[in-house]
């Protein structure tokens, strides 16, 4: 063994390493190696070996995902190297594996060109969104690192800005002129004003019809929404029958699912109008079986439809200036009556009963909703914050029981808490008055806890604090000694 090293007495392990390194250098990218080779003289064999490990490229193939995250480390490694302090280099040594695996990801850029294209694309995307400050370091490595960094910008943000078509934003609505609306209904062919996401959104968002306020024009909870919903419809657009059909289907479904909203009743009527209108344009298969038999009849009725709409304009124009809830039921009433009055012979008996039933549903709900809306305006500021604060403890109660609790039972818990707070304040007042103070202090509370039997000789207050309160509060309550001969909180 000793003979092997006696080949050339002038050769030390250091020079051997250097030779290896030089031969390795030719294969790796020049730019990065140049900083390395400069520092060969200063480096120890240990660091040289580490460099060899780093320059051992393409031997440890990593998944690009795992390369991405730790890539932030090599940029630190880079910057530390450029500081040319051996000490910092030494620090990197305890984890030889990560740099060795990271470096191939950095260096072997040529191999990762295909994947990098995606990341470069993403980088461009993200750069459009967020500013990326170039981390200090080599230009190439930092750009790569920053591209990898940028790929971790949360995608939903960039996507939402990048593709505004998918953004969940409510379309702009103006106060609607129903007469003009009906005019537009008559004139324009109804297509979905919203682009393709209208097709997607009805199916996806219908279960949460009240929560989302974006693509569904009828999910607006305010009463003006029913009027404004009409407005958002007839945007002038090229006739797309499928789009209007999708819209009708959407409204039909929405009428079926969300009957408790007035706007659905209004939308249902709007759907009826649209049906009538569209049949004037052309025949399309309709999802509901009821309107289908009416199709041939309704085609004749287009002429009378205009008469209906003229009447509805008059009726609605009288109504439109009174905004808010009372308008919508009246409107739907009027339109319903007009519809039924003008075209009784066209609608077969079942559909009118369906007509009667469906609007009566939302109409009943609307008067029920209206008084609730006005009632809660007054006492809200007294009740709600108090109850909101108590709800915290109620949730804690249901958490502690580990069992399901009835809703009515929670009301009792509320009352109980009310009484408890009353008792608590009284007791604290008594205690502080007994001590001749007007401020409630910690010792009063400690006395209270003791009298309640929560703090005993076995269980002290600090134990309870530690057990139940989170750390930040505990620091505030329990005096703790800090450096510099100080105690916080001061006693």
């Amino acid at each position: 063994m000793a003979g092997r090293y006696s080949l050339d007495p002038g050769q030390t392990p250091r020079t051997i390493l250097r030779r290896v390194l030089d031969t390795v250098d030719t294969r790796s990218p020049r730019r990065r190696r140049s900083t390395q080779t400069k520092r060969l003289e200063e480096q120890t064999p240990r660091t040289l070996l580490k460099n060899i490990l780093l320059t051992a490229p393409e031997s440890s193939m990593m998944m690009p995902d795992s390369v991405m995250k730790p890539v932030q480390v090599p940029e630190m490694v880079e910057s530390s190297r450029q500081e040319s302090s051996l000490g910092s280099l030494e620090l990197q040594l305890p984890e030889p594996e990560t740099p060795s695996t990271l470096a191939p990801g950095l260096r072997a850029t040529s191999k990762r060109k295909q994947r990098l294209r995606l990341s470069i694309f993403q980088q461009e995307v993200n750069q459009g969104v967020s500013l990326a400050s170039e981390p200090p370091g080599n230009a190439d490595a930092s750009s790569l690192a920053s591209s990898f960094n940028l790929s971790f910008v949360p995608p939903p943000q960039s996507q939402s800005v990048k593709r505004p078509g998918l953004a969940r934003r409510r379309p702009k609505r103006q106060p609607v002129d129903v007469g003009a609306l009906l005019q537009d209904l008559k004139n324009n062919s109804l297509t979905s004003a919203l682009p393709g996401d209208n097709h997607r959104s009805p199916v996806a968002t219908l279960p949460m019809d009240e929560v989302l306020e974006d693509t569904q024009p009828f999910s607006h909870p305010s009463a003006g929404g029913s009027l404004s919903a009409y407005r958002s419809l007839p945007n002038p657009s090229p006739a797309g029958v499928e789009g209007s059909e999708g819209l009708v289907r959407h409204r039909m479904r929405s009428a079926g699912t969300g009957l408790q909203h007035s706007e659905y009743g209004g939308s249902w009527l709007g759907a009826k109008l649209i049906l009538v209108n569209r049949t004037g344009l052309g025949t399309t298969p309709l999802p509901f079986s009821e309107p289908q038999p009416q199709l041939p009849e309704l085609r004749e009725a287009v002429g009378s439809q205009e008469a209906v709409e003229a009447k509805e304009q008059e009726g609605s124009s009288g109504v439109e200036d009174s905004p808010g809830g009372p308008a919508s039921p009246e409107l739907s009433c009027s339109t319903n009556d007009l519809l039924q009055a003008e075209q009784p012979h066209q609608f077969e008996p079942p559909p009118p009963s369906g007509v009667a039933i469906l609007p009566s549903g939302p109409l009943e709900s609307v008067p029920a909703r209206l008084p609730s809306r006005t009632r809660t305006a007054g006492p809200r500021h007294h009740q709600d914050p108090y109850k909101a604060g108590l709800s915290h403890y109620i949730k804690f109660f249901s958490f502690c029981t580990k069992r399901p609790v009835e809703k009515a039972a929670l009301g009792i818990v509320e009352k109980c808490l009310d009484k408890y707070f009353q008792h608590l304040c009284n007791d604290l007042e008594v205690f502080s008055a007994h001590a001749g103070r007007k401020t409630v202090k910690l010792e009063d509370l400690e006395l209270l806890l003791r009298r309640q039997g929560l703090v005993t000789d076995q269980v002290s207050l600090h134990v309870l604090v530690e057990r139940y309160l989170p750390l930040e509060y505990r620091q505030l309550l329990i005096p703790c000694a800090f450096s510099g001969n100080s105690v916080f909180p001061a006693q």
Binding site: Y393, V413, C425, V440, L445, L449, Q452, Y468
Partner: protein
């Protein structure tokens, strides 16, 4: 303060300090409250609710029902309120 726990099912651990101070002020406007006191009040509330929950759960177990009902809580509340009088 980042006091919220990771699991969403657990309740957050932040104390409703402002709510406690406001309630105290409403009930006893002539009194003042010291700094750390509302935390201890919160602790007191937690302990009270904890005792109440335990007692209700015991009552429910005794009547062999899986769900905690009104009467369980009523009976428990009578007892615990009496205990917490101080």
């Amino acid at each position: 303060m980042a006091l919220s726990t990771t699991v969403s099912q657990r309740i957050k651990r932040k104390a409703p300090r402002a709510f406690l101070r406001r309630t105290f002020k409403q009930k006893k406007p002539h009194l003042r409250l010291e700094t750390g006191c509302d935390l201890l009040i919160h602790l007191n509330c937690l302990l009270f609710v904890h005792r109440l929950a335990e007692e209700s759960r015991t009552n429910a177990c005794e009547s062999k029902s899986k769900v905690i009902k009104k009467d369980h809580i009523l009976a428990a509340a009578k007892l615990i309120l009496k205990k917490s009088r101080g």
